[in-house]
Amino acid sequence: MNKISVIIKREYITRVRKKSFIIMTILAPILMAAIVILPTVIMMNEDGGDLKKIAVIEDNSDLFKGTIKNTKEAEFIYLENVKVEELKKSFATAGYYGILYISPEIVNTPNAIQLISKQQPPIGLLQHIENSLKKEIEKQKLLTFKISNLDEIMKTIETNVSVQTIKIDDSGEVKETSTGIAMALAYILGFLMYMLVFIFGSQVMRGVIEEKTSRVVEVIISSVKPVQLMMGKIVGIALVGLTQFLIWIFLTMSIVTVLKTTILQKTGITEISQSIPQNVMGADQKTDAAVQTATVSPELAEFSKLFDSAMNQPWGLIILSFIFYFITGYLLYASVFAAIGSAVDNETETQQFMLPVTIPIIVGLMVAMGTMQNPESSLSFWCSLIPLTSPIVMMARIPFGVPYWEIAVSMALMLVTFIGFVWMAAKIYRTGILMYGKKTSWKEMWKWLRYSG
């Protein structure tokens, strides 16, 4: 036992001190933070961008005069008695961003509208124009039916739709959930599991090959049992992985928080979070707070709804099963990777053995991604029970709710398979690390399985 801890310590310390580890550990959170922050920064820049003046021209009619409302980004200026061809040459110098040209055939042919500009117009602007015109055209068409009180009817039928999803568990308890949150969680959990198993599993393999080719292994196993060396390496690398992930999570969150509070102070985003306490704390601050909350309240409601449904996730179950599947899944694959590493003389030879091992992992990841779309599919169900794919797929299914018996069966199968695989891998490893020069085949490995100590 004491010797295993010496091995674990060496595996851990030599890896954590490597330059590549330190660089990756620091760089990745910066990248992650950039991915989180960048969209908001871009949004902010757009907000602060110039107001786009757009000239609106119609041929021989004034049907759409005032139809398109001005927005924060764009101002629509209706020009009469101007020819498109003339303006095309001079609109840029006249200070316009572009020309919106509406031809008379608009009611019948949808392509009769042109937005002429020097740059690619933003998608938001196009949608705004399309929506405004569509509504107006529909209204004009309705008018031709000569319905009385049309305006009133239109007002009363105007509705906003937002589907609320509610999950009922077996005890009849109602929980408000968000499919978005469940999908995000499923994605994160499935992918995290995939990364952990794959990246650190193949690190185990590389470590074994290093020891074999440098012949260190013979010195070591004259002091400790091969299984001790294998398990020490696997555990040591698992700890490296966990260290890196914890640092990543911590650093990413710190960077995001710092950036949000410094860079984004001026924008509306902080107002939302500021208005939360004001909203809760109550009535005596009505004057200012009321104004602020009034402007952001729909977004705020959406935000707190998301927050609630995130909290409604079965976190205890998620964390416990994540730990279970991580330990068993990682140990299973890492020991197989160790066995492969022991059977070859260099890394290029690993390929023939890698393929059958990577296939279940990749299939697991792909099914997990499909699970986000349809968590109840029979493919997801079976893959979350079959031990080689279950760590990834089951983790992706859990946020959508899985009956306990399925989890229990999946875990039991996993446990049995895991023990079997580690046992077989240890036997192959024990023989493999001392075999040099011969090209190993599957048949050969099968023979090693049956060698006695």
Binding site: K3, V6, I7, V219, S222, K225, Y451
Partner: protein, 302 residues
Amino acid sequence: MALFEAKNVTKQYGSKLALDNVSISVPEQCIYGLLGPNGAGKTTLIRIINQITGPDSGELLLNGNKLMPDDVQYIGYLPEERGLYKKMKVGEQALYFAQLKGLSKAEAMKRLKYWFKKLDILDWWGKKVEELSKGMQQKVQFIITVLHEPKLIIFDEPFTGFDPLNTNIIKKEILFLRERGATIIFSTHNMESVEELCDNITLIDNAKTLLEGSVHEIRSKWAANEYDLVFDGDVNIEGNGHYNILKQHVENNKSIIRLKTTSDINTNDILQTVMRSGSITSFNPALPSMNEIFIRVVENRN
């Protein structure tokens, strides 16, 4: 009493027989040579002694007791293929292996400083292994092997990669270790070092023991009644009914002659006959080198 014994050890890998009923008995404080051509089964036997693999049948005894997994702390092993972590620093690495052998960190540190000073590599403590010359790496590996003061030390080709100067240093250290009480099993192809260092040997070929015993006895046995004679000046002698002349030549004004007796004539009678031809400066039984014996034994077999 034998410190280490292997009795009737057999090991099979698939269809290949690596050791066939091999026995060795290594007396205490002896340097025991394990000889044999490549692929004879030496490495398999060494791995079995180190408990890296187990025998299919046979018995292993250390100090008269059955060899147990915990006994690895009494055994030191220098494998033929030297192996160190290339990217690891020399001192840290030596500490790591010492701890794997069960030494405490403080004790390991103390002994390492002693040995590093003794072999003059203390300056390299903080360097990575890949920065060291091959000879230097060998020294580090040698220290790792003997650091935990094992009772039984196994050296597999200990002199490869050393220049003559360092070979001598290591030879001295091996003799020093024996003096301090260690028993040494020594596997090599270098027959000169066998003559120089080994007390006993076993010669294995094709998984079987071909020759066993003390070096001196074996050489005397294979001497086959040959004698070396040296005369002053140019002397020519001829064979008779009792002996044949195998070869003779003159070198530095000395005649060097080898003869082989063909009857039970004793050495005094030979001397009496040949001394009439000139003045003898030396007369010795001609012991064959271990090299000759090795080649003859292995070739006879085939």
